[in-house]
Amino acid sequence: MALTRTAPEGGAAPDTAPDPGSGSGSRRRRRGPPGWALVGALVALVVVGPLLALPASFVGEGAAFDEIARTLLPDALRTSILLALGVGAGTLVVGGGLALLVSFWDFPGRKVLDWALILPMAMPGYVLAFVVLGQYGLASPLQSNLFGDGLRIPGVRSPVGAIAILVGVLYPYVYVLGRSAFLGQSRQSLEAARCLGRTYGQAVRQVALPLARPALAAGVALAVMEALADFGTVNLLGVQALTSAIYRVWYGAFDQAAALQLATVLVGLALTLVTIERLLRGRARYQQNLSRGDAVAPRRLHGWRAVLAAALPTALLLVVFVVPVVQLVAWSVETVAEGTVAPSLWRAARTTLLLGVATAAVAVVTATIVVYGQRSTPSRPGRVLARVATVGYSVPGTVVAVAVFVPLVWIDRRVVDLSASWLDRDIELLFTGTLLGLIVAYLVRFHALAYFSVESRMGRISPSLDDAARALGADRTRVLTEVHLPLLRTGIVTAALLVGVEVMKELPATALLRPLGGDTLAITVWEATKDSRLDTAALPALLIVGVSLVPVILLVRLMRSEGWTGAADRI
């Protein structure tokens, strides 16, 4: 679950709400002390600062790069690009196709599929991967699989296998955005096309589909970013993508400079894709805001077409969600019955929860400060900085981990030295290999999620409220605490939820920075699957899927109450 990157430019918040920095009140506000803006800028710097270490890796001991460029890089880069292209095409076909089908045709089961098709969003790629591996080549300790020895999927340990699995869990991004775009289209445009002699199918293809292009592109971009950032799936399948190459260089050759250089390449690739998507989309924005009565009425399918229309999505859902979940439940039940639950499971669950809650709290605070700093004292540098701070979300966790590690070690050394010289006490490292260090990494990566949620809410609060409060003598801090915070509640809860859940399933940054002995559920799954202990991995995996279902269910509810466009704004 991620916040759509359309929000800052295409989304509702900054464009529809009057810019608090313009208009009559702004001059007066601008004259005030820059306190909030300064704090906001500082926070933004902290969030994005570590990433600045990446390009620096090419300066100085850059010699390592020649070696990588010759051996690891070509293959890893090729694989990552292949993954990006494959997942892009796959999610477009599957997610876009399903959105088309459900939007314009009616068939038995459509109502249920309409929301059920979002569920795979709750399944992390590494979980689906290990269930598939488990069902594919099964270690003898486990005979409880649903397929016996019957299921054979050749070549699952390959880029193609990785693409298939990633498409299975990432297509909902395209589905949700596409579905909302189709629903936002008016019936009239389709009817106009029909009047011009097109069949229903032609009208859909030639009118509805092109109109939804920007939304589909945004969904595909999200899915591709996720695919580039994926670490667990490719590792389990033995596919050497850039993310796994980074891990390998760091922990295989112990060459952190080389890891940073590879990370820079990966970030470059990710940012290139974001830019391409932006350019392709241009100024285009999907139409919405139509009253509901205008929406297209789906056409009823009959006979074999109806059967096919119901069967295909159902089959997909069975393969990527229902069967894996049932399999996880079966393995978990067996584990519990045999009493072989990993003894550290509950500790891992506690650590995971703690990390989720703590990071969510911190992210909400940083996001609110940055957003409010921008609102109370708008400035161009401040706005740029606030935007730049959201870049972390398009940076894979592996990269964030290596980037964050450098400054944290530096700070740790200073703190330890200070403590030794001033207080004459030896203290343990604060950030290196601790939960605190992890929280910093999560913050860099997920600050954007909180930022967009808070920002879009803040945009709906009329600046005249600020003016009124200020006119009554409240200072800026009081305006924030007594006027804005209560109004921001929904945004803040959404932000906390999104961040919390992302943190709980996060794998790559956790794998690289984890505090020794403080494993999370995701790490438990990963460790166990690396050792082919599928039974041990099942219960924590099930817990992760369960937790991830929370925001997905909220999304489904939102989509029912506010209509699809409201829901799509929140992805």
């Binding site: 270690a139 070690v409 006490r425």
Partner: protein
């Protein structure tokens, strides 16, 4: 309350500094004297070994804090933390990372008459920087259904053209594979090793994530010849005596099967070297060794026989890793594996 604080014009930066100070304060207080507590960076933490440490705790009253991770991660962590590390003992699954740690000056020498009695000379560092806990053979394994007995008798056979498309290997990221290749470079020379690895790659091996997965893949029929640590197979056979994979002991007329070592050493900056030594003594003593051996490894302590299910494997001709020679070649090994295209 918080709102009121903020409203009292406490500038946020001041609040932030206060929070940071509180965190540092907690760290200072918590980071004080640990008393009788040993922090173990334990690469062997996965499923089953914890009991050994619990037994130690019970027997000695010394509290053990286990911090788990893979051997390379632990080594890297220790290297980064340096003198600030909380670790007292490093336990790894392979010799490469112990050797690296010694080389990097992260360990301190220890010895005792108990240790000398428990661990034969070839299984510990002459100066006492590391002590073996168990030995592990990295050997070819074959499908009993699709490979006739005797078809594989050496590491070279993994590159035999008749197994083209039928082999599988774990990634070159595995420390076991890295140790094996470094040992090969030490004993066969770089050119012969490169030629050997190229022949392995020529068979286009399926690359799998773990030894366990490799065995599963072999049992499922997707690969006929693999390379695995022996105890994974021992565990599979214990679960299912009819498991369709068998070891193919290599070079039994020559050097023998490559044997790696899992071991432990005392961290250089530990101020509890006495308790740390006691822990290693315990790990190599018969009660602990029996628990370790029960999971299919060979004991470092010669008094402890192999587990029932692998008793037949006790007379396999083994070729212990030449640590002093192979250690410095680890980087070369990793480079060579990349060079020949071993993913």
């Amino acid at each position: 309350m918080l709102a009121r604080l903020i409203r009292r014009r406490w500038p946020l930066p001041v609040l932030a500094v206060l929070v940071l100070a509180a965190i540092v304060g907690v760290a200072v207080v918590a980071g004080g004297d640990d008393g009788e507590q040993l922090v173990i960076y334990n690469g062997r933490s996965h499923y089953g070994d914890e009991q050994v440490f619990l037994d130690f705790e019970e027997e000695t009253g010394i509290e053990v804090v286990l911090r788990g991770g893979t051997a390379p991660e632990l080594y890297e962590r220790l290297r980064r933390e340096g003198e600030d590390t909380p670790a007292d003992v490093l336990v790894t699954t392979d010799l490469a990372n112990l050797w690296r740690a010694e080389e990097e000056g992260l360990l301190q020498p220890t010895t005792s008459s108990t240790l000398e009695a428990n661990v034969p000379a070839e299984l510990h560092d002459p100066d006492g920087y590391w002590w073996a806990v168990s030995t592990r053979l990295r050997v070819p394994v074959v499908s009993t259904e699709r490979v006739e007995p005797g078809a594989v008798t050496s590491y070279e056979d993994l590159g035999d053209p008749r197994f083209a498309g039928r082999t599988c290997l774990r990634t070159s990221n595995s420390e076991y594979n890295q140790s094996l290749v470094a040992d090969m470079i030490a004993k066969r020379g770089p050119d012969a090793t490169e030629e050997l690895l190229r022949s392995w790659m020529a068979n286009d091996p399926e690359i799998v994530g773990s030894d366990g997965e490799m065995l599963a893949v072999m049992a499922a029929g997707d690969c006929d010849v693999g390379l695995s640590n022996h105890y994974y197979l021992a565990r599979a056979l214990e679960e299912d005596p009819d498991f369709p994979v068998a070891p193919a002991w290599p070079d039994q007329d020559g050097a023998g099967a490559h044997a790696n070592v899992s071991g432990a050493g005392v961290v250089r900056w530990s101020d509890q070297s006495e308790a740390a030594t006691r822990l290693i003594e315990y790990l190599t003593s018969p009660p602990a060794q029996e628990l370790i051996v029960a999971r299919g490894e060979f004991a470092a302590n010669p008094e402890v026989p192999p587990a029932e299910q692998i008793r037949d494997w006790a007379d396999v001709e083994t070729d212990p890793i030449d640590v002093e020679a192979a250690g410095p070649l680890l980087a070369d090994a990793v480079a060579l594996m990349l060079e020949v295209g071993w993913r």
